[in-house]
Structure formats: C-alpha cells, structure tokens
C-alpha cells in the first residue's frame, strides 16, 4: 500500500484546487498569476510523488522558471496596479463552467477507459532519464523534430510580428 503517497497526494491536490479557484476569483491580475504558480508547483510535486523525476524538473524549469516569469513580466509591464482591479471578468465568464466540466468529463472517461484497472508498480520499474532520452531520440525522433520545427516557426513568427521595419 502507498499510504504516505496517498496522503501526500490529497494534501497537494487540496492546495492545487484552492490555488486554481483563487486564480479565477482573485481581484488582482498579479495575484492571479502568483496563485497559478502554486498550481503549477503542485503539479510538479505530484510528478515527484509518481517518481517521475525528469518530468517534475521539466515542469519547474518550463512552467515556473520560464512561462510564469514571462507572464508576470508582461503583466507588470502593462497593468501592474496594486490593490483591486475592476472589470477583470468579461460578460461571458459563465460559458467557462460547462466547457471546464465537459473537459473534465472527457479526460476522466479517457483515463478510466484506458487505465481503469491498472495499478502503479510499487517497487522498481521506474522510468529513468536515460530511457526517456532513448525513446525521444529513437522511435519518437520524427515527432520531436516536428515539435522543434513548430517552435522555431513560432519564434520566427513572433519576430516578424514584432518588427515594424
């Protein structure tokens, strides 16, 4: 039994849910972004619980170290008032609720359908970093290249859009 892991999962999941609710209910954009950091860090902690070390570290590096920092950077450059902001919600915010529920339902069904009766191995069988890299640079090389190409296209596109001359 993985009692300690289950307790840890419950605590982290509760923190993530509180954080996620605060992201959308807080009345300050920067606070919203900071609560989002809590949610993303919680996701990294869940990966650690699953012994997925590489994925957890990547989550911290990409989402907390890069995406959220750029997010905060952009927010602070444009609308960085301290205190309550008004008009953060647009009029269609209620539409988000059915979309979120539909997304949750489809993901839950997909997960239960494919992994319903399987159990996490309690010992050994941990995928290490070397196996991940062997997979990426072996059978999955072409998708990896395609992803890199998409990212390169996005970078060049951003430069083209930003340059006026």
């Amino acid at each position: 039994m993985l009692i300690a892991q289950n307790i840890g999962f419950a605590i982290i999941a509760a923190i993530m849910i509180i954080g996620a609710i605060r992201v959308v209910t807080t009345s300050n954009v920067v606070h919203g972004a900071l609560w989002l950091v809590v949610v993303l860090a919680g996701a990294a902690a869940q990966y650690v619980l699953l012994a997925a070390e590489f994925v957890a570290v990547t989550q911290v590096l990409v989402y907390i170290g890069a995406v959220m920092v750029l997010f905060l950077f952009g927010t602070m450059l444009t609308r960085s008032r301290i205190g309550r902001d008004s008009g953060l919600n647009n009029t269609y915010w209620k539409l988000g609720i059915p979309v979120a529920l539909a997304l949750f339902a489809s993901m839950a069904i997909a997960l239960v359908d494919s992994f319903g009766s399987e159990k996490m191995p309690t010992d050994g069988a941990i995928v290490n970093t070397q196996q991940i890299s062997d997979q990426i640079f072996g059978p999955y090389l072409l998708p990896f290249w395609a992803l890199s190409f998409v990212l390169l296209a996005a970078v060049i596109g951003a430069i083209v859009l930003a340059r006026k001359d």
């Binding site: 570290v57 911290v60 590096l61 907390i64 920092v69 950077f73 602070m76 960085s80 301290i82 970093t129």
Partner: protein
C-alpha cells in the same frame, strides 16, 4: 547517505544531518565570502583596511552587522502589497536552499543524489526570479518595479547560455548526475595520462568561461548589476526592504554566489574528488571513506577560488548598459555555446 564513514545512520538521523548540513552549506560560504571578499579584499583593492575594530582584524564584524539588521524596524510601505512583499525574500532564499541540495561533497556525503542533478539545479535556480519580480512589484515603488523588470529580463537572457554551457559537460560525461560527473572527471584521462584525471575545465574551457559569465549575470553582480544599479534605481527591487528582510536578500545573494561556485567546481574542476589514480581507486565504490571528510574541504577550497574570480570581476569592471547586456547574451554567448555543443558532440562521437 545511508552510511557515512562506515556507520549506518537511521532515517531520522539522515534527515537531521541533511537539515543541519544544508544550513552549514548555505550560511558558512555566505559568511566567509562576505568577510573575506566583500569586507577585506574589496578594501585592499581600494587601498583601505576595511573593518578592523570588531574582533581581531575585524573578524567579528559580520556578527555585528547581523545583530544590527535583526534589531532594525521591519518597515513596510503603506501602499505595498503586504503578503507578497513579505514572501518575496523568503522565495529568493528558498531557491538557494533548493540549489545546494544537489551539490555532492563526498562519495557518501551528499544531500540527495538526483539522477537529473544538474538539470534540477538549473530549474530551481530560476525560482529566485519569481521572488525578485514579486519584491519589485509589491513594493509600490517605480524604482523597485524597474529593478524587478530589469532583473527578470537579465536572468531569462542569461539562463540560456548557462544551460547551453552545461550541455557540453553533460555530453562529455554522458550523465546529468553530479556524482557521476565528478567520477567521470577524476577517473578519466587525457590521451592516456591520468595524473590529473580529466577535469572538464580543460576540454570544456569555452563552456567554463560562458558558465562563469552567465552565473555572474545570474547573481546580478557587477558588471551585470543593472537590477540594483544604485546610481539609477536607488537599490532596485531591494529599495523598500529593511531589517531582517533585507538581511535575507543579502544572505541569499552571497549564499547563491557560493552555491553556484560549488556547482561550477563540480562541473568543471572535478568537485570533491582528487584524481583517482593518485590512490589507485578505479570507481566510486573503491573511493576511501576519509574522502567524506576531505571532500567537503576540497569543494570549499574550489568554491573560494571561483568566488574570488567572481568578486574580482565585480570590484573591477564598470556596469554594462541595458542594451549591451542583452546584445552580449543573445549575440555572443548563445552562438558561442551552441558552437561549443556542436564541437563537443562531434568529438564525442569521434573518440
């Protein structure tokens, strides 16, 4: 670290040792760097004596300074965002403590032996940017906000050359685990000569230089100190901080310098090890137990040497301009380190 010096340690003992060791590994280098380099070396470079009154040769000056900061009033600006303002310095210091966790100090003297070692270090070092941005924004001060934004732009720009410089070492060692990188350097040989092992500072010299420049910028030490440029921004993101919150920022700055120097010495100078051929060791398992005592001292010595260079540059060069800084990162350091990676990969395949 299940056994240390041949003694099996129970789990609670390991945890206690990790906490105490972590505190020592962060605070001892910070204090030593501040006294030896900031108080004394800087004074000698400027033809003065530095602190002389507190203790013999001013050696207790640090205790006096910490006492002074602790008894100061904890001032917060009226318009500041109080919770964020209070949390920011703690997040900066937290990143330092997370960073020291992966540094190996001996064959059994490590806090955690992560398989993704150096990758983890690069990831958690970027958490401090978050704290700096929070400090800059929550102070309700235009200078603070400018300093925070400058810091974020600078740290993002210099994280890339740092990651790319480390990549050369990872390719050559074939692992991201810092223990195995240490073993690979000390058990290695250059053209069959194994008297000096194979410290990567020789084969990865370009990577070493790029890494040292990048950590200089990551630490916001001069000539990369635009985020706290005192003649332009008062004190940047730290302007509104006083008392022990300023002390936390201060400790964080110099402790991070020490930890980054330890990581650089692990990656490029052979870490805790001595060349294994000196004592006839061949692999990790044959390393003698006394290395757990000598290892930390070796790491500390190498750390002092590297911080000496960091501080020497800090006290010598004038500040960059903001656009020069960005141009240097994107147009010089990143292309150089990319070429370095390519050459390393080609040579790795050839030999």
């Amino acid at each position: 670290m299940n056994t240390l010096l041949g003694v099996v340690i129970p789990y609670w003992g390991q945890s206690l040792l990790r906490v105490l060791g972590g505190l020592v590994a962060v605070l001892l280098p910070a204090g030593t760097i501040v006294y030896v380099f900031l108080f004394k070396m800087m004074s000698f470079m400027q033809s003065r004596l530095g602190p002389m009154e507190a203790g013999p040769y001013g050696s207790l000056q640090l205790v006096a300074e910490v006492g002074k900061w602790l008894q100061k009033e904890d001032i917060q600006p009226t318009n500041a965002d109080k919770p964020v303002f209070k949390m920011a310095p703690i997040i900066v210091l937290m990143s330092t403590f997370l960073l020291v966790v992966v540094v190996p100090f001996g064959p059994d003297a490590w806090f955690t032996n992560l398989e993704t070692g150096i990758f983890y270090a690069l990831a958690v070092s970027s958490i401090s940017v978050l704290g700096i941005l929070m400090a800059g924004w929550s102070s309700a001060n235009k200078y603070s906000l400018l300093g925070g934004l400058r810091a974020a732009g600078q740290l993002i720009a210099y994280e890339l050359p740092m990651v790319l410089a480390v990549m050369g070492v990872v390719i050559q060692a074939g692992t991201m685990n810092l223990q195995q990188i240490v073993v690979a350097q000390n058990a290695g040989s250059i053209f069959g000569i194994n008297t000096f092992g194979n410290p990567y500072v020789i084969t990865q010299f370009v990577g070493f230089i790029v890494f040292m420049i990048a950590i200089q910028a990551e630490l916001t030490q001069a000539p990369f100190d635009m985020p706290i440029a005192e003649s332009e921004l008062v004190s940047g993101y730290m302007t509104e901080y006083s008392g022990f919150r300023f002390l936390i920022f201060f400790i964080g700055e110099f402790a991070t310098a020490g930890v980054f120097a330890m990581i650089a010495s692990t990656l490029f100078l052979g870490g805790w090890g001595v060349p294994f051929s000196w004592f006839g060791w061949t692999s990790m398992d044959s390393v003698s137990n006394w290395m757990n005592i000598v290892g930390p001292l070796i790491v500390f010595t190498k750390m002092m040497v590297l911080t000496f260079f960091i501080m020497w540059v800090r006290f010598t060069y004038p500040r960059f301009r903001e656009d020069q800084l960005q141009r240097f990162a994107w147009k010089v350091l990143i292309p150089v380190s990319l070429v370095n990676i390519m050459l390393t990969a080609v040579l790795k395949v050839m030999f």
